[in-house]
Assembly symmetry: C2
Homo-oligomer: 203 residues x 2
């Protein structure tokens, strides 16, 4: 059986970059189909037929099976590898960081980056930035507490928890969220970047 | 070894109710410690020492190990049971609904319920309701598309995906989000309520 994987993604999206990073670590070949979600390409009838929630990334297997949600895709691809522990408790510790990322981190740090970088300076959503930054700092403080005590987010070492949280944390400054007060996070970013197969995000 | 589990939770929270529902299905004994997050009890030094993100639910094992994030706790408790498939692909399908719930559903349907039910009628956050309801309906439309074609969210049958999404969907109306246009969802709610061990949310 072929192991041909297709990723529908947008290079500028941290959620999509997560998959690129894991696939490079795993040295798994894949096809990347660029989908411009900012300009409506995730809202076409063709794309909605593949993902009714209208979001990238989306993984397609060579038999046509589809999987949305960046962190669910990370879990699927990492299953049975060193990037996701097999033990139920250890896996749950990785999962808690994945849920933290989507609920307490991405909605602030990724959205601040989007508003500051992609919306015009006079756009009404610029008014959201102070609250986004405040909440973003709250998320970073939670990460700092963990990363001041250990090398990676999960005690078992580098995992998809680090990949998921690296994706937007390394561009916090783009949204006006400085990492000056988080020495643990800055050292961790460097450790992630030193992993075999690491690729920087380009867009 | 004892299997004593402690859940720190708030009965009125759907995220906490998820755990109650699964634990009842599994017939696992547990101790419930009520923590009033609306009135600051998740922000005390004692609680923050247990969960630096200051949220319930939080699971504590009898040896003191701690796990936050409702959906990570569901995964841990359901591991090896009929409520979470062992196969990597099938498990990923359950996980994608768990991430959908935390990113595209809960921030609208749960927050609309909170604003409408708990905040005073003249509170400034009441102004958020139209947008919360619009986004809530978008999430329900995604669920309806799945549930008009099969009995439960994952193809493998009733799972923690259904438990996680039942938690706030069954109270959508409290936030002013009616289920009239979602016959698939309404039939699914009844199927969830017919599962062995089902307990209604009380608060």
């Amino acid at each position: 059986m072929s192991t041909g994987l297709t990723v529908y993604g947008m290079k500028a999206s941290g959620n999509c970059y997560k998959l690129q990073l894991l696939l490079e670590h795993l040295q798994r070949p894949y096809r990347w189909v660029e989908v411009d979600s900012v300009n409506g390409q995730t809202r076409t009838p063709d794309f909605l037929a593949k993902n009714p929630n209208g979001k990238v990334p989306l993984l397609e297997l060579d038999d046509g099976r589809l999987l949305p949600e960046s962190n669910a895709i990370l879990c699927y691809l990492a299953d049975g590898t060193r990037y996701l522990p097999a033990d139920a408790w250890q896996r749950a510790q990785v999962l808690q960081w994945l849920f933290f990322e989507q609920y307490s981190h991405e909605p602030y740090i990724a959205v601040a980056r989007f508003v500051a970088r992609w919306l015009p300076a006079d756009h009404p959503r610029q008014a959201e930035l102070p609250r986004l930054r405040e909440r973003g700092h709250q998320a970073l403080a939670v990460m700092e507490q963990a990363l001041s005590r250990r090398e990676f987010l999960a005690e078992t070492g580098y995992s998809i928890a680090d990949i998921a949280l690296y994706a937007y944390t390394h561009e916090s400054h783009v949204g006006g969220i400085a990492l000056d007060d988080y020495p643990g996070i800055r050292a961790w970013l460097a450790r992630v970047e030193a992993q075999p197969g690491f690729v920087p995000q380009t867009y």
